[in-house]
Structure formats: structure tokens, C-alpha cells
């Protein structure tokens, strides 16, 4: 009952939050800045956030930066890298089969992006090697595909969870795309809620130290538990469904540890440590900043409302099959 009440309080806070003004943006980024606290004394990481400008940043360290550290790539060099990424993004949408570019291009500002790649550990900036078990698992999956080949749209189940409006999973829900990169973080003493515009997710994360759900219970977004370590919110998520488990990992053994730390008047640093001893030989971590942006509130993205595209993709595939048969 108590949990329900608190969840209700979080939902109510979500509902009224757009009416509240952010005290943070009113502050100047002065040298005297100190990280704000909530009225009950926790670090305050709340707000509307966007990470649109981090779009186009490669996960792994590109070969051109061999021998250099993330901190070395800054200033004009970083700006020119980001400008090139922006140009590539726009060029990739220059073909005929898209919606009008005005829908999103004017908001794209990758030049403000803050880093040249995302992986901060291991130091080489690469995803660690797969374990023997993961290699065997992927080989078995490849063999299964050879034995039972399927087209890209034989069934709706052949489309991604994203195409099907189910989820972008974790950490996918916070990975920037060309639009829909709005997030909201809200706190109570006992819970943190994180909302993701695309595609319509809210995580309500208990902070009371309770145990994880039974391993038998697996979900697309996993089972999250949070706690404060100094000024940092640490969220540990486990119990993933295999089909939503990050980068082909094992949903039962994957553990994502996110850290949210307020590092400036309008910035929360978000990092994700990815651990799965059945998939990678060591844990690895990537990070990016989330920027407070009150002009980008989370709007409802009721993805199933009119997901006509999915039906049309399937009917397109059927008519292509028919055409192929007719040409035989």
C-alpha cells in the first residue's frame, strides 16, 4: 500500500511538474556554483533534459585518435569533428525516402556536442572482447539463421522492438536520435522517476534498498534500484528479457550501473557501466552529459496510436514477394 501511495505521489508530481519553474536556470554559472540540494537534503538532479547535441558521437574511440585521451580532443578540433558529424547526418537524410527535413534539422546542433567518443573505460575506448560463451552464443544464433532464413519483414516479430513501438530498452532509451530526445528526472525522498519521450517510458526507481525482483521476473526495461553515493545517484538495473538485453548480452546476467551526477548549473553527467560476465571479458563504461533545457519538455509519444508504418512495412514486403514470384 505504502509503495502504491508513493508511486501515486510520483505520478502526481509528474503531472504538475510542467507548471513549476526551474530554479536552476535562474542561477548564473558563476564560480561560486554549488550543487543544489532538495529540501530533504539529497543532491538535486531534477529537470527537463535533452542530449540532442550528443547525437552522432561514436560509441568507440575512432582510430584517428589513437594514443590520445578524450580530454585532449576539444576546442576547434572538437567543433570541426562535430560539424562533420552534423553534415553526415543531414546528408544521410538527403535521399528520397524520408519525411520533410524541416521537421527536425533546424533543431539539430551537434556542434555543441561535448566529446569525440563515448567509452571512458577501458582506456582504449573500445568495447571489450566477447567471452568464449558469448562467441559461441552468437555463432549458434548465426547458424540458426542459416538453417531457418527469414526476410526482414516476414512477420511483425521480425521487426525491431522499436519499430513495433514496444521499447528502446536500456540504455537505448537515453541514446540521442534526431528527435524525441527529451527526458525528465523527478525526485522524492524514496523514489527517482525518469521519463523518456521516445518511446514513452517512465522508470520509477526505489531508493529504499529493497532487494531486486525474483530472477524469474524479466522485463524490457529491467528492474532498477537506486541509492546515493555522495553527490551521485547510482542506479543498478538487472532482470532483462533476452530480446531487450543490450548488445546481445545475456538478460539474466546483464547488470547496468548508471550514475547521474550534477556537474554544473545545467548539466548532469550520465554514465553507464555495462557488466555481463557471460558476454564481455570485463565491465565497460560510456558517458555523456544531459543538459537541462526547459524548452524541450517531455511530450506524450503514444507510439501505438497510429503505428501505420509497421502495417505498411509488412504489406510492402508481401507485394515485393508477389512481384518476385511473378518475375520467376
Amino acid at each position: 500500500m505504502n509503495r502504491l501511495l508513493v508511486a501515486g505521489a510520483v505520478a502526481a508530481a509528474l503531472a504538475i511538474a510542467p507548471l513549476a519553474t526551474s530554479p536552476v536556470l535562474g542561477q548564473q554559472a558563476a564560480k561560486t556554483w554549488t550543487a543544489p540540494k532538495t529540501p530533504w537534503g539529497d543532491p538535486d538532479i531534477q529537470g527537463w533534459f535533452s542530449n540532442l547535441s550528443e547525437n552522432g558521437t561514436p560509441l568507440e574511440k575512432p582510430a584517428q585518435f589513437a594514443g590520445r585521451s578524450l580530454e585532449d580532443i576539444k576546442g576547434d578540433e572538437l567543433t570541426s569533428i562535430k560539424q562533420a558529424a552534423q553534415n553526415r547526418t543531414i546528408e544521410s537524410f538527403a535521399g528520397p525516402l524520408h519525411a520533410p527535413e524541416d521537421w527536425w534539422q533546424k533543431d539539430l546542433n551537434m556542434v555543441k556536442g561535448s566529446q569525440a567518443w563515448l567509452i571512458i573505460d577501458p582506456p582504449d575506448g573500445k568495447v571489450p572482447a566477447l567471452t568464449a560463451e558469448a562467441t559461441a552464443r552468437q555463432a549458434a544464433a548465426a547458424e540458426a539463421r542459416r538453417a531457418n532464413p527469414r526476410g526482414p519483414a516476414d512477420s511483425w516479430e521480425d521487426r525491431s522492438l522499436y519499430d513495433r513501438c514496444i521499447t528502446r530498452g536500456l540504455p537505448g532509451s537515453m541514446i540521442p536520435a534526431i528527435y524525441g530526445n527529451s527526458y525528465q528526472i523527478l525526485q522524492t525522498p524514496d523514489y527517482v522517476a525518469i521519463r523518456y519521450e521516445m518511446i514513452h517510458e517512465t522508470r520509477i526507481i526505489p531508493l529504499d534498498g529493497r532487494a531486486h525482483a525474483s530472477p524469474k521476473i524479466k522485463t524490457y526495461m529491467g528492474d532498477a534500484r537506486g541509492h546515493w553515493e555522495g553527490d551521485t545517484l547510482v542506479v543498478e538495473t538487472t532482470n532483462f528479457r533476452d530480446e531487450a538485453s543490450y548488445r546481445n548480452s545475456n538478460g539474466s546476467t546483464l547488470r547496468l550501473v548508471e550514475r547521474f551526477q550534477r556537474v554544473g548549473p545545467a548539466t548532469v553527467k550520465w554514465s553507464v557501466t555495462v557488466e555481463d560476465p557471460k558476454t564481455w571479458v570485463r565491465p565497460w563504461t560510456f558517458a555523456m552529459p544531459l543538459t537541462i533545457d526547459d524548452t524541450q519538455p517531455v511530450l506524450e509519444y503514444a507510439c501505438h496510436e497510429g503505428n501505420l508504418g509497421l502495417r505498411n512495412i509488412l504489406s510492402a514486403a508481401r507485394s515485393e514477394e508477389e512481384a518476385a514470384r511473378a518475375n520467376k
Binding site: G95, L97, A141, S160, R247, N248
Partner: protein
């Protein structure tokens, strides 16, 4: 077996972390780059639905009126640029440049939607027909 395939497909999507050029759906799976269409018609309605909005237009073809459905982008992106339900005038004539659906139905992607005077609809800056533009005298 099916699960293995799923995992492969999902992996392909999640790998897009390093190539983050996502839009919600790949229009290339729906529309045919070999079937360009240019449609002049009048707006019947705009469905502000997720994940993509649809614009419905009536096109006169040899004395008959043919209804086309035009797939657009996500409503939230337009809304954040200042467009609202009342910004898309029913009855207005538009020219749609797009590509027809692969299954031959009267659907197309709206690559460009322009008003008769050449101004682009759904653009967000001054002088492009966006809401907030100085109205023409």
C-alpha cells in the same frame, strides 16, 4: 530459433548506438524510390498521430477525386517548433513531392509539401509558411 533471430535483429538496432541516425521508421521499408509522385491536392485533414503524422489530401485526376495519404514526421517535433492543430488549413492546396508505397496503395512519404506560392509547409523559420510568420497582406 525465432528467438535467435530476434536477438540478431535487436542487436542490429541497439548497435545503432554507434551510428545514431535513428528516425522512428525506415521509410525505405515502406516506400519505393522508383515510384516518385508529384501530387497537387487539397488538404482534407491532418492526423496528428504518433509515431508519425499523416496528411490526407484529395487530388483531382481526370475529373475524379482521388484520396492520398501522406506520411510525415513525428507530431512532437512539429509541436515543439510551434505548429498546432490549427496551423494546417483544411482545404488549402498543396503540392506533395514524395514516393509511393511499395504495395501500390495511394500512400506516399511527404518529402516536400509546398503551398502554391512555393513556400514549404512544416518548415519552422521565417517566411516558410510556419505559424508565427508575418501574414501575407
Amino acid at each position: 530459433m525465432r528467438k535467435a533471430l530476434w536477438v540478431f535483429i535487436i542487436a542490429a538496432y541497439l548497435l545503432a548506438l554507434s551510428a545514431p541516425l535513428w528516425a522512428h521508421h525506415a521509410f525505405s521499408a515502406e516506400f519505393d524510390a522508383n515510384k516518385p509522385v508529384k501530387l497537387r491536392g487539397n488538404i482534407v485533414k491532418m492526423d496528428w498521430i504518433n509515431p508519425h503524422a499523416w496528411l490526407y489530401i484529395d487530388v483531382k485526376e481526370g475529373g475524379k477525386v482521388v484520396s492520398w495519404a501522406i506520411e510525415l514526421g513525428p507530431p512532437n517535433a512539429l509541436l515543439k517548433r510551434g505548429w498546432t492543430k490549427t496551423s494546417v488549413p483544411v482545404g488549402a492546396e498543396v503540392l506533395v513531392d514524395g514516393y509511393q508505397s511499395k504495395d501500390g496503395a495511394l500512400r506516399a512519404n511527404g518529402r516536400d509539401v509546398t503551398l502554391p506560392d512555393g513556400r514549404k509547409m512544416f518548415a519552422g523559420s521565417q517566411g516558410t509558411g510556419a505559424p508565427g510568420d508575418t501574414p501575407e497582406k
